[in-house]
Every structure is written in structure tokens, then in C-alpha cells.
Symmetry: C3
């Protein structure tokens, strides 16, 4: 069995951004030389998530608007008494989930025809990390 670990860093320009990381993950799997296994992709900061969905600009806008309805940015969260203003980002991360496992088959990411992997930043403009760990043989 073999394990290969890398960390991706993100400092987004906008507070909220979706960054397509599919190609970067494919390269990490290639470097790992693992033929059969699983690739964990997990946002290490608690106001970011990982989303597997379509690279379609309209859907990405729908997604952001939908998250704002279900987990709205607003002043009156209790968390904000600490001086923070990002409680909605914690809730958005929860809703989207902060990690995925990608299957690795025959040395490559084993994705469906439209599956693209996104780093979903909800409170950016500062350096944050994602851990990528490939396990297999």
C-alpha cells in the first residue's frame, strides 16, 4: 500500500469563489503513481467546502444564490459577538460538505462525464489550504 499527500493553497480575490481544481487533482493522482485507490480532498478551513458538479456558469450562479437563501449572510448570528462576521460561511460549508473521496482506477480519477471538482470558498481573501491524500497501490 502506498500513500501520497499534497496540500493546495488558495488566496481568492473575492470573498466567495468557486475554483475548478479538477486538473490539479488529476496531476496529483498522476504524481502519486497509485493505480487503484481513493483520493481524499478536504478543505482544512471551516468556511470552505468541496463541491462536485457541473462547470456551467449559470448553474454556478444558481448555486451561490441558493446558498444565500438557505444560509444567509446577516448580522444577527450569535457567532458575530466574537467579532467575526462569517457565520453564514460556516453554515454554507456544512450544507455543501467540506470533503469528497474520488475513486482512482487504472491510475486516473474515475469521474462521471460531467463531474468537475470545485474548491468552494465562502470567506476568502486570505490563505487557506486543502489536503489531498491518495491511498492505494
Amino acid at each position: 500500500m502506498s500513500a501520497h499527500t499534497e496540500y493546495l493553497s488558495f488566496t481568492t480575490r473575492q470573498r466567495r469563489e468557486l475554483v475548478n481544481i479538477t486538473d490539479r487533482l488529476a496531476e496529483i493522482v498522476k504524481r502519486s503513481r497509485i493505480q487503484e485507490g481513493m483520493c481524499l480532498v478536504s478543505a482544512m478551513h471551516i468556511t470552505a467546502a468541496i463541491w462536485v458538479n457541473d462547470e456551467e456558469s449559470g448553474l454556478k450562479q444558481d448555486f451561490q444564490q441558493w446558498l444565500d437563501v438557505l444560509a444567509p449572510a446577516k448580522p444577527d448570528y450569535i457567532h458575530h459577538r466574537t467579532g467575526e462576521d462569517n457565520a453564514d460561511a460556516h453554515l454554507k460549508r456544512t450544507l455543501v460538505h467540506h470533503q469528497v473521496i474520488l475513486p482512482v482506477t487504472a491510475g486516473k480519477l474515475d469521474l462521471g462525464p460531467w463531474e468537475q471538482i470545485f474548491y468552494a470558498e465562502f470567506d476568502g481573501q486570505r490563505k487557506k489550504r486543502v489536503v489531498v491524500k491518495v491511498l492505494g497501490e
Copy 2:
């Protein structure tokens, strides 16, 4: 270490369906001959999910109605300008999450007393796949 991969196919009769796949997954784990490990179950199409919950018809109806409240089917998504009409299915997949990892212990799925695994289709009536990968020894 050993890896075993199979793909399940679904062409549901209804646009939205819950299909209990627990027995099929148990058979895959048996065929893998893996005694200790993890079994990844991941919907490869971006309008389907995997749900682990109760095989109780009332709860399954509550689940569908609840998803329709939080991620309603409606015409005015931006995604629909592409000619699609399934933006709500993308959002429902996001909410439920598209994958689970099932522990494999002593050669069997290590589930709680009521845990059943469902393929949750939100835009069916066409062929779609789920990847199942068992990793362990």
C-alpha cells in the same frame, strides 16, 4: 492491499426515485473478498445522490417533500437558459451529498441497525451510473 471496482446502472421509470441498493452493495463486498476496508459508493452523474437512512415509506415521502421545499423545481434558474430544466436536481444532489463510505468489517458491510443505502435519482428516465470501489485487505 486489494481493490475491487464495480459500476451499478440505473434507468429509473420516474424522474425522481429512491432505489434501495443495500443488498447489491453487500454482494459486491462479498465478491471483493475484502475482509477489512472501506467501500466507496458515489453517484457519477451530477443530478443523483446517495442517501443512508431508513427504509420507511412515510419518511421517504417526507424526505422528497422536504427536498422540494429547500431546492424547489421552478422555471427561473439561470441554468435553464442552456435549455436544461433540472437545476433543482443539481441542488438536491448537493444537499443530500453524492457519496458515502461504508466500513467493511469481517468481510461484511458494517452498518447500524437501521442504516439502508439508497440511490437517490432526481432527474432520471435515462441511464446513469454509480461507482462502487472496495479498498482493503
Copy 3:
């Protein structure tokens, strides 16, 4: 490859509770002696979840109130015709997701600076279990 499995038990005093289990998970990883791998943490009962977020009391209150808005406790779920009264707990588990995979690097949980792992009980006051399986080498 090596696998190490333990089960955590919870009988919460309150019906709904968040229990920080980060230290208990770190000890399990230590006992596993696995240096590189993945640690699955999965709630085996279908009215509980696992949440990775901040140990901050205000945010934890916001989280609970938010879940009550999105998946309210109310009498008129169809599931309740079975005599149950916990349909909202099934939906809350779905929203938060019932499991996480924690990376294990150099023999330790490889967490971000604020990531804490919580057992999220939505229908407690009775014994329930979480399976923890560490896989690696």
C-alpha cells in the same frame, strides 16, 4: 496495509447535543499505529451526524437554530404515523451528513487549525454508536 476499528457509544442527556470527539479520535489513531491513511468516522444511527467545525459556543447555537429553520421539528410529518416523532432528526442528519474521513499523516490526524470533530445528536437520551475505522500503513 493495516486496519483498526473501534466503536464509540453515546447516551446524551439532552435530546439534542453536540459532543466534541476530537481527542477521542486522536487516541484511536494513536492506538492504530497507522502512520499514513484515512480515518472514517460514521454515525451508525440514522438520527445523528458528524460535524467538522469550530469549537465556539455562539456558532454552535447558530448551527442548532439554523437546522431548526431548515428541518423543523413539527407534528405533521408522514413518518410520525408510525408512532415516531423524530422525522426532523432524520432530515437534520441528512443536511449535516453522517460521516467524515479524516486524513492521517505522520501518525496523527491531519486537521486544519480550527477543525474540531463533533458527534451531532438529534434524537438522543438512548445508547447510540459511531464506528471509527482507520485504514493505512
